[in-house]
């Protein structure tokens, strides 16, 4: 397993294909570093003995311990550990841990390549398994590039006026394929080792050129990462972990990019477009049942602390509001646990979470995210957006003024109170705040996408059977399907 220092040094070896604000920048650009520091925690915490059970797993491919972010779950325990790992790490970095997307892409491909091979006699699973072994041995990180530009939202890929609005195969050669197009909203790709590309939606036969999946190094020839970094205002005196972290998202452009055959995991198998897209989405929604509760945990903690600073922690309405964070976060987490207990062992051996539970869990959090920020703002008051700059707390003569007037709860020092308000500013009123709000709604699939997924698969007929029985329309109520359903331990 790599250390974070090795990860960083590997990143620095990558070719400069990151573009920010009109310039090509190195991956050590100060605006990219906040995201790298998030990623580093996934290496750091895999090192010590205390977190070993959580952060590592035994790989059936290498036989050794590997970072859990590289090892598809084999059983419900693995899934629960994945969820817990994401929650605990997310608490440490103030939210999104970012490495799960590559992990979820590996999980999706491990299943889909096997199923495609079973149907078409292809060799995607062999290629993928080799790739996975390589990935595990090097302890790699990957971005999953799923969302296409999509052009006119009412048209399918093959119907778009510009055929490149979805990433597509433009040439198939003996040694590989050539692809063209772009993917958007791709988090962490600017500091990933690899890019894994999968389809974003169901395809029809006319769309078969768009049914493509592959993996390549992030600095591969013909790949440009047009990047938008986000970070919070730098601290000068009151350094704090939260102020160190940030994120970058990119438009990933494939400019007639050659993909070697061994790295191609789907090529025109359009009937599997939906399956692969959903496998990733559902696995990623399972990850969200870990990270979104952590976001609730963070907002809850900040709200409780600021209530203490305001000396209103014991007031009934404050406690009721705090309980809403707990209610939302823990319900979503519980949905993740249920999805593991009622998951499915796929033909590939990968254990997959129950789609209903991950979708209801993810949707709940997507629906409540703005409400959670609303609660924080309610309890914190307006100071987070009117707080003077940090410098004024340390310069004469304003230092005395601010030290005196920032005091609320006499049990807390001026610096502690200042740190709390600075935290509220970073969490509740910064560029990162907006990022988390929008990620909270749309990341991993918006609530409407979860609704669509649920409605596609949920068994409403069996619910109607209950009503028909209770109404006396049907004589019997057949519950055998539910009787047979057993949790896997």
């Amino acid at each position: 397993m790599r250390t974070s220092a090795e990860y960083l040094s590997d990143l620095m070896k990558l070719k400069a294909n990151v573009y920010v604000g009109g310039k090509t920048v190195g991956r050590d650009d100060p605006r990219i570093m906040p995201g790298i520091r998030v990623m580093s925690t996934t290496f750091d915490w895999a090192q010590g003995p205390d977190w070993e059970d959580l952060m590592t797993a035994t790989s059936p491919l290498t036989g050794g311990r590997v970072n859990r972010f590289t090892c598809p779950p084999r059983n419900p325990y693995d899934l629960m550990q994945k969820q817990k790992m994401i929650r605990l790490l997310a608490q440490r970095v103030g939210g999104c841990i970012q490495r799960c997307m590559g992990y979820d892409a590996l999980i999706a491909l491990s299943i889909a390549t096997k199923e495609m091979d079973d149907k078409y006699g292809t060799e995607y699973n062999r290629r993928f398994t080799n790739y996975l072994k390589y990935y595990q041995e090097r302890d790699l990180t990957a971005a999953c590039a799923q969302t296409d530009m999509k052009g006119d939202r009412t048209k399918r890929p093959s119907e778009q006026s510009d055929p490149d609005a979805y990433v597509r195969v433009v040439e198939v050669r003996n040694d590989g394929i050539v692809v063209r197009g772009a993917k958007i909203s791709i988090t962490m790709v600017a500091y990933a080792d690899e890019i894994i590309v999968i389809p974003t939606r169901a395809m029809r036969e006319d769309d078969k050129d768009y049914a493509v999946a592959f993996a390549i190094p992030a600095d591969w020839d013909g790949v440009r990462l047009i990047t938008r970094p986000v970070w919070v205002r730098e601290r000068k005196e009151l350094g704090a972990p939260l102020a160190e972290y940030g994120v970058s998202d990119s438009v990933v452009v494939f400019d007639n990019t050659f993909i070697p055959k061994e790295r191609v995991f789907m090529c025109k198998e359009w009937e599997f477009g939906r399956r692969l897209a959903l496998l990733f989405a559902d696995s990623h929604r399972h990850s969200y049942t870990g990270c979104k509760p952590a976001v609730s945990d963070i907002l809850c903690g900040v709200t409780a602390l600021v209530a203490e600073a305001n000396n209103i922690e014991g007031i009934a309405h404050v406690r009721q509001k705090l309980s809403e964070f707990a209610g939302g976060g823990e319900l979503s987490y519980a949905a993740g646990i249920a999805s593991a207990l009622f998951g499915e062992r796929t033909s590939s051996g990968t254990f997959f979470p129950n789609a209903t539970y991950v979708n209801v869990g993810r949707r709940l959090m997507g629906e409540t995210i703005y409400h959670e920020y609303n609660i924080l703002t309610e309890i914190a008051g307006g100071l987070s957006v009117t707080l003077p700059f940090e410098e004024d707390f340390f310069a004469e003569p304003t230092k005395q003024d601010l030290d005196k007037y920032i005091k609320r709860n006499p049990k807390l020092s001026s610096e502690e109170q200042h740190r709390i308000w600075r935290l509220v500013e970073s969490v509740g009123a910064s560029a990162m705040t907006s990022w988390y709000q929008i990620a909270g709604v749309h990341g991993g699939g918006s609530p409407i996408m979860e609704t669509i997924t649920l409605n596609a698969e949920y068994d409403y007929e069996s619910k109607k059977d209950i009503a028909k029985y209770l109404a006396g329309i049907s004589k019997e109520l057949d519950q055998s399907k539910y009787l047979k359903e057993k949790p896997t331990f």
Binding site: I315, A316, H317, Q320
Partner: protein, 507 residues
């Protein structure tokens, strides 16, 4: 003429027996109708009560005589505001729906549509309407408005239904009148109304001519059968209270080849298909007036529930708790906002060609929708603050029997400053409001009565000019250089005529 409750009730007693309840054919003196009669009584009593006369009576624009406001055609914005306030205040007195507004709303819709139809088509419906209105005002008539059809398959229009009678239709149009067949459902007040006013439930297409029908008939007219569902409270023996006296009755009204005399026909698309476009206009205009009425009664419902919540919080000793105050403030907030929407819609009313005032449609719909969305939450708050007792309380008799009365009263005590009887009355009243069959009726009515939130959404989005709305964003984002001054004009259901013209042509 302002009549008394007794005069009204004497008329009912003389009516033909055409009500069907639980397998029996009954007349209007049936005991199960007394709850609804008690509510209607309020509309007569208050018109004869000096304290309320300024609100509940008005001068007729036809005769210059004093009339009950429930028979008035709104001649000004003030009339609209007074109707709304009257609805609210009378609803307080009966614990909810005052029920008589629907007839008023139908009459106001006719006063606009028949006039404008005559102007456009040269028909002479408006004169018939005025004669009918005169009869209404002279006799202080109470009427049901029968709008909702059975509707069969919800995805099909009237003429596409497997059974053509699933919407009320004209089977024959003759010079002396029309013959109608079909049924209207969910007809509040019909069992105790003098009259039934039928009008279309939706926009009618050029193939739905025979469904473009509106008329008024005495409620006991030949061929009219009312299948009635009353809802009422347990009878109180000792602790009589207004809340326990009220009730509801709904009619599933069947028109079994009923002849309607020409002077009582206000829309006849079969005899004169040029009238068909006016079906959507009158349907939506009635709904619109009725939604405006809801901006009076729904605030009252919220206030009735809030008053019970505040009282039980006081008796439970938790009135000052922050969460209690927050919850009650939600109910008050909803009540006031809904009322404000109705007031604002009246301030923005337009005077139609016949002189009748029409409030603004976006605002009445916004107000009614807010109320509809909040209703279950309001019941939840009352249940939250009242606790479980209202659903588990022993019968009234146990509080008065020798063996258990003293003990029951002892253990009802909460706040020592309040008598045991008052505490008992409070929970008994909440039982009526919250866990009775009438509570069920009020919840469903709160959601669907006068149009469900979904219907308000449809009306608002049909009437709201979103293209002009987008001009703000286009300016702010630098897409357009100029922002045309954007003030939304008053909108009314007259737009339904335009919709018909665009879809099916004609003038």
């Amino acid at each position: 003429m302002i009549k008394t409750h007794d005069e009204y009730y004497d008329r009912l007693k003389k009516m033909r027996r055409n009500l069907y309840i639980g397998g029996e054919k009954v007349d209007r003196t049936d005991e199960r109708l007394t709850g609804q009669l008690r509510i209607i009584q309020e509309t007569y009593d208050r018109a004869n009560d000096p304290e309320y006369q300024d609100l509940c009576t008005v001068t007729s624009h036809l005769t210059g005589e004093g009339i009950n406001r429930f028979t008035n055609i709104h001649q000004s914005k003030e009339d609209l505001l007074n109707k709304q306030l009257m609805t609210r205040l009378l609803s307080h007195r009966v614990g909810g729906c005052i029920m008589r507004c629907m007839g008023t709303d139908a009459m106001n819709a006719f006063s606009v549509v028949t006039y404008e139809m005559d102007q456009a088509l040269g028909t002479d419906t408006y004169q018939n309407f005025l004669r009918y209105l005169r009869y209404w005002q002279d006799n202080d008539i109470c009427a049901n408005c029968a709008q909702t059809d059975c509707k069969g398959d919800r995805l099909k229009r009237p003429h596409e239904q497997a059974d053509p009678d699933l919407y009320l239709r004209i089977v024959e149009s003759r010079p002396d009148g029309i013959v109608v067949r079909g049924a209207k459902i969910d007809n509040t007040v019909a069992p105790v109304g003098d009259e039934i006013i039928a009008l279309p439930t939706r926009f009618m297409t050029d193939k739905d001519n025979e469904y473009a029908v509106a008329f008024a008939l005495p409620a006991d007219w030949e061929g009219v059968k009312m299948l009635v569902r009353p809802a009422y409270h347990y009878k109180r023996k000792w602790l009589k209270a207004p809340i326990a006296e009220i009730g509801d009755a709904e009619s599933f009204t069947i028109f079994d080849d009923v002849f309607v005399p020409r002077e009582r026909v206000f829309l006849d698309g079969k005899g004169d298909p040029r009238q068909t476009p006016y079906a959507g206009f009158v349907a939506l205009l009635f709904a619109h007036y009725h939604r405006h009425s809801y901006t009076g009664c729904k605030p009252a419902v919220s206030e009735v529930l809030a008053s019970a919540a505040a009282l039980v919080a006081e008796y439970n000793g938790i009135e000052r708790e922050a969460h209690v105050r927050e919850k009650i403030s939600h109910m008050i907030g909803t009540a006031e906002l809904v009322f404000a929407a109705g007031q604002m819609s009246a301030y923005r009313a337009e005077r139609s060609a016949s002189g009748t005032y029409i409030p603004d449609e976006v605002l009445t719909n916004a107000g009614r929708r807010l109320a509809g969305e909040a209703i279950y939450d309001e019941y939840k708050i009352l249940a939250d603050l009242a606790g479980g007792l209202s659903a588990t309380m022993p019968f009234e008799e146990e509080f008065f029997s020798e063996e258990t009365g003293e003990l029951a009263n002892k253990y009802m005590m909460r706040n020592p400053k309040i008598s045991s009887e008052s505490q008992h009355r409070c929970f008994r009243g909440i039982e009526n409001l919250l866990v009775s069959e009438l509570a069920g009726v009020m919840q469903v009515a709160g959601l669907h009565g006068g149009g469900s939130p979904q219907m308000e959404t449809i009306s608002m989005m049909a009437r709201y000019d979103t293209e002009r709305l987008k001009s703000i964003a286009k300016y702010l984002f630098g897409i357009e250089k100029e922002l045309p001054r954007y003030e939304r004009p008053t909108v009314t259901p007259r737009a339904m005529l335009e919709r018909y013209r665009k879809t099916y042509g004609g003038s």
